[in-house]
């Protein structure tokens, strides 16, 4: 058996096609050098099955004749173990960012240290009582006290209101993240289908896989996930042990209002199992909403409520200029509700500075209230200062965590880039390599052409 006359032409054609495939892939890589989530691809070339060339004097083959090259498959460069590490750390990074942002907003709301914050207003309030104690019959001192007290209650109300608004905002972000999780789950489902279809016929669905990995990257920023690949190339994505995506189906999450505030609680739609992620943006948002902001709200409440109790405890025993006793100074139970008692608001004579009726020079109640500044345990300004110190420490710690975690994520991303990123230098070399191989194959084709020309047109002319 000998090789076909045109064997060389076929071989050269395969070489041209295969090198062109290589050049096309290089082109694809260069085109996607800046595409997010893209993994560089490479053509896996293999020699085609060789011919057995029998020898003249024996049955056995004398050697194998190479038949050229074929592009077996196109691979993407990807390390799925790095993906797992990256996603875990990136989830923690995004959780830290949520915490940091919430604490930063609390700092903006409480605006300390400043000349206009709650601590300054508390000081001004007690000073106004001192002024009244200096001149208990003075209408001016009484008016100033009412103003200072109104500024203080407004300060508490505004802070409580803005912290509640922050909670509401975090709550709507929880809702938005759940919507995003469901969108991503649906994307992964449809990409699962495309991967399975493409790979059923033996291809590698590199670009679909890249897109699916990109969706997983984002999903892992929101909630921690475990990803398992099935035999057909589709993925099962587990969230807290329950499947969010299983091959062709997604189990979307739903939100239901719960608790006194009607805040969203996240559940799986199939069996209503509650979703309590251990990390990620969703965890960060839930913690900020239910713990961080809530704790500063209750801290403010406790400062306000102990002030209400202490001031009223003294004020109700005192007498106004009109000789009436038993009036409260404040109403309300916390930072959101603290207000001037209606019997005192707009009625400076009702302020009880004296411990007895008809004693205009008696300042004993006013002085005792002014002295609450030190005698209360803890003193209101100290309690507020401790709250601010805690806020500063928590916020600083959150900033540091977000920064450190950010550096770790950056490092892991670099390692992913080392594997999957497109290097233009590398692609330039590849381009040269494929181009030269293509040129050489074309040159070989010319050689065959000349050979055949000799055979067909220049051979056997003897009989002509």
């Amino acid at each position: 058996m000998t090789t076909s006359t045109f064997f060389g032409l076929d071989l050269a054609l395969r070489a041209l096609q295969t090198q062109q495939r290589g050049l096309d892939t290089t082109n694809h890589n260069v085109a996607n050098a800046n595409t997010k989530g893209f993994s560089r691809q490479s053509v896996v070339m293999e020699p085609t099955t060789p011919f057995m060339l029998p020898a003249l004097n024996r049955q056995q083959q004398a050697g194998q004749l190479g038949t050229g090259v074929i592009a077996v498959t196109i691979e993407r460069a990807r390390d799925i173990f790095l993906d797992v590490q990256y996603r875990i750390q990136d989830g923690l990074q995004h959780q830290a960012q949520m915490a940091q942002q919430a604490l930063e907003q609390i700092e903006v709301v409480l605006n300390e240290p400043s000349d206009h914050g709650l601590s300054a207003q508390l000081g001004a309030f007690f000073n106004a009582w001192q002024e009244l104690a200096n001149d208990p019959a003075s209408a001016g001192a009484r008016g100033s006290l009412l103003q200072a007290a109104a500024a203080l209650t407004a300060g508490f109300n505004r802070a409580a209101q803005q912290l509640s608004a922050l909670q509401t905002d975090l709550n709507s972000q929880v809702q938005a993240r759940v919507t995003e999780i469901n969108d991503l789950a649906n994307q992964i489902v449809s990409l699962n289908k495309q991967v399975v279809q493409a790979e059923a016929v033996g291809q590698r669905a590199n670009d679909f896989r890249d897109q699916r990995d990109l969706a997983l990257d984002r999903l892992a920023e929101i909630v921690p996930i475990t990803v398992n690949e099935n035999a057909d190339g589709s993925l099962t994505v587990l969230l807290g042990g329950q499947a969010l995506v299983q091959g062709n189906t997604a189990d979307p999450l739903v939100t239901t209002p719960t608790g006194p505030n009607g805040f969203w609680e996240v559940r799986f739609s199939s069996n209503s199992a509650p979703v309590s992620p251990t990390a990620g943006e969703l965890r960060g948002l839930l913690d900020a909403r239910d713990q961080t902001v809530a704790s500063y709200l209750s801290g403010l409440d406790s400062v306000a409520s102990s002030l209400i109790t202490a001031v009223n405890g003294l004020h109700t025993t005192g007498y106004g200029q009109d000789g009436v006793s038993g009036r409260a100074f404040f109403t309300g139970t916390g930072a959101a509700t603290i207000a001037l008692d209606p019997s005192v608001a707009g009625n400076p004579q009702a302020i009880a500075a004296a411990s007895a009726p008809n004693a205009p020079g008696d300042n004993s109640i006013a002085l005792a209230i002014a002295q609450l500044r030190q005698s209360m345990s803890p003193a209101p300004e100290d309690a507020f200062g401790a709250l601010m110190a805690r806020l500063g420490q928590e916020s600083k710690a959150a900033q540091d965590l977000a920064t450190n975690q950010g550096a770790l994520v950056q490092l892991l991303d670099r390692r992913r880039q080392e594997v999957s990123g497109v290097s233009l230098d590398e692609e330039a070399v590849q381009m040269l390599r494929y181009q030269k191989a293509y040129e050489a194959a074309a040159r070989l084709l010319t050689a065959y052409d000349q050979m055949l020309d000799r055979l067909i047109n220049a051979t056997g002319i003897v009989g002509r």
Binding site: E104, E112, F126, G361, M388, Q417, G421
Partner: protein
Amino acid sequence: MRVTHRMIVDTVLSGLNNNLRRLEDLQRQVSSGRRLNRPSDDPPAVERALTYRATLSAGEQYLRNIDAARAWLQASDTALASATEALQRARELAVQGSNDTLGLDQQQAIATEVDQLLAQMVALGNSTLRGQYLFAGHRTQTAPFTLNQGPPTTVTYNGDGGAMLREIDAGVTLQINTPGNSFLPTVVTALINLRDHLRAGDTAAVRNDLPALDAAADTLLAVRADFGAKLNRLDAAEAQRQALQADTTAQLSKIEDTDYGEAITQLTTAELAYKAGLQAGARAMQSNLFDYLR
């Protein structure tokens, strides 16, 4: 290790971003003059800053309280200084009136002057500061003393024994008033007796009034000595508080305000780092192998 161009771009960007953030922070410190803008800038310093601010705010109030207390005590002391003078004049008159050689009309003339001193003494007992009676206890809106001409002439006290306390330092209170019933009735009674004895021409009785007048003067002096001691306490408390205020202000400024020397040095360094980063980045991103293929 493979290095891609995107890795270089990412590294350059994150480095530039860090430098720029540092630069922004320093520029804010320099332009606002404040080092602390929110609790997380320096948590322990912020807690101290809040304590210092509370100390300053309370301290300013103590200084105002001291001023108010001083005004009250000075007005009280001025009133009693006049009372002492009036009493001295009464004693001089008593010495004159006890002379057996005086005629009846001369004694009557002296008695009239003593009567005026008596009215003046009651008026001094009703002294006010900005509309508040100084010696009425808590009943500062009611004239504490009324003279009933009689006979017999008596003086009634309409005030009470209420103490007026002012806080002059944290937890330190000072009683600034002395209810008039503790000293004025003795003085007034001595004057009433003197006048009545003069009117009656009873020189022996007038002579016997002298010890009572001296005792009354001693009473006034004792009250004024108390005022003086309290004014001294106020001065001491004020000096102490002012020193503390100055010290606290300096401490607060140290932790809250920008240290310009340090901040500007750091700012210059940060600017240099940022510019160096820009240059390095521009150079790193300039070329790749494609530039050299012909």
